[in-house]
């Protein structure tokens, strides 16, 4: 056979070529969500930073952008929490332990951490938005001595939709962490808070002049979350948000995730709010 026609091995770091990962564990989370724990079939480590995402490929079905939700210090385990919303994620939900998927990444700009040294830290998130924030929470806790108060404000639909509920309970048990949880509605007799995440921001204890806030909500709910932070005196240059669009290539080629001059896959998905404030509410973008 003509050697020129043989497929050439792709360079190991080609961002368009997926690496294969085997599903080591599959855990059901809240309804419609599951967590896959993956190991690289080639045994090589996988490094990422909190806030980055991967393109996960279900062979024969398609690719989808999913944020990493595990600990970035564990280079041998890749964790993704996925919500079933479309063709690819529904196919992914049917995969079992031992199945293999393709992974391209990591992509995108991570949550900045060192910039917040010396500040109080406020996480504002809801429903599955906790998943992309979890690597950052792990890392803030790993570097706990660099921060003042650390506060998590989390909201979910109901009492049965609290993602990583056990972990939130564990975190709430720490003396160096405030964890506030609210739900949209609850059965009579429920002892927790009911209402909006904005109300949690209102009651959280932190120094507004020295606080960095990280927001991971849907785009619609990011606006009121940012407003609640502004109401408490946190300025836009100390608020980081993560945005989601239809990411396809992950490297800024295809333009599917373009918002104004920015490609979310490579310039985001994490943005300092003052850098996108002017275009954030422009509907045509």
């Amino acid at each position: 056979m003509d050697g020129a026609l043989l497929p050439r091995p792709a360079p190991a770091d080609d961002p368009m070529v997926p690496r294969t990962f085997r599903i080591e564990r599959r855990a059901a989370e809240v309804d419609g969500c599951f967590t896959l724990t993956l190991k690289a079939t080639d045994g090589r480590p996988f490094a990422f930073q909190p806030g980055q995402f991967n393109m996960l490929y279900v062979f024969g079905v398609g690719e989808v952008a999913i944020s990493v939700s595990g600990d970035c210090r564990d280079l041998n385990t890749l964790t993704h929490t996925i919500r079933e919303v479309g063709t690819v994620t529904r196919a992914m939900a049917k995969l079992r332990v031992g199945d293999v998927i393709g992974v391209r990444g990591p992509f995108g700009r991570p949550w900045p951490i060192a910039e917040a040294y010396g500040n109080d830290i406020l996480f504002v998130t809801g429903t599955v938005g906790l998943a992309p924030l979890r690597p950052l929470i792990y890392e803030v806790l790993n570097r706990r001595e660099h921060f003042g108060k650390v506060v998590i404000c989390y909201g979910s639909r109901g009492t049965h939709d609290i993602l990583y509920e056990k972990q939130l309970h564990q975190w709430r048990g720490r003396f160096d962490l405030q964890v506030h949880v609210t739900v949209h509605s609850a059965p009579s007799g429920y002892r927790g808070r009911v209402g909006s995440v904005a109300n949690l921001v209102k009651i959280a204890r932190f120094d507004p002049d020295h606080t960095t806030a990280y927001v991971c909500r849907s785009e619609t709910m990011t606006r009121p979350a940012v407003q609640a932070l502004h109401d408490r005196g946190i300025t836009s240059d100390r608020i980081y948000v993560t945005l989601e669009r239809n990411m396809k290539c992950g490297v800024g080629f295809c333009g599917h995730c373009q918002m104004g001059p920015s490609f979310m896959c490579k310039d985001g998905p994490v943005y300092r709010y003052d850098t996108i404030e002017d275009i954030f509410t422009v509907r045509e973008l």
Binding site: V30, H184, P187, Y190, R191, G192, P224
Partner: protein, 158 residues
């Protein structure tokens, strides 16, 4: 007299009355009373006569919707420093929801039937009260709308 002075101080300390001129605020004091509710005790019930509102000093109150044949549904919790109840301001002065203490609740109850004629008679007081109520009403309605948006736009299974 001592009790009135004590209530005046409690009123002045509550965020709802912050920055209100003392002579205007003092008009309200005569309509106030201290109250304490045990966990599970109702402050008011849907359909009841709405002649009070409540400044929460301590504890949490759940706003509930009664569902026949099933446990009620808590739709909001109101905590320390906040207020609950605006049906006393709007005819026909009937509660639209239940309010129940979720833990030990200490509150100042303000008698709306006592206060309404005073708002009519003293427009400065009326203006000050509406100026404080309307942003709270607006914020809660806005938050409720956003929660509807979140429930309808974010996938999930109820």
């Amino acid at each position: 007299m001592v009790a009135i002075e004590g209530l005046g101080r409690l009123l002045a300390e509550h965020p709802f009355f912050q920055d209100m001129k003392p002579d205007v605020r003092d008009i309200v004091v005569g309509c106030c009373a201290n109250a304490h509710y045990r966990p599970g005790e109702f402050l008011f019930k849907e359909g009841g006569k709405a002649d009070h509102f409540y400044l929460i000093r301590q504890g949490t109150v759940g706003v509930e919707v009664h569902v026949p044949g099933r446990p009620g549904v808590v739709v909001e919790t109101i905590g320390e420093g906040d207020i609950i109840g605006w049906s006393w301001l709007v005819p026909p002065y009937v509660w639209s929801f239940d309010a129940r203490a979720m833990d030990q609740v200490r509150a100042i109850t303000i008698d709306g039937a006592c206060l309404r004629p005073k708002l009519e008679a003293n427009h400065e007081l009326g203006y000050e009260m509406y100026k404080r109520f309307i942003p709270i009403m607006g914020r809660r309605i806005g938050e409720a709308r956003l929660r509807i948006v979140e429930l309808t736009t974010e996938p999930g299974r109820d």
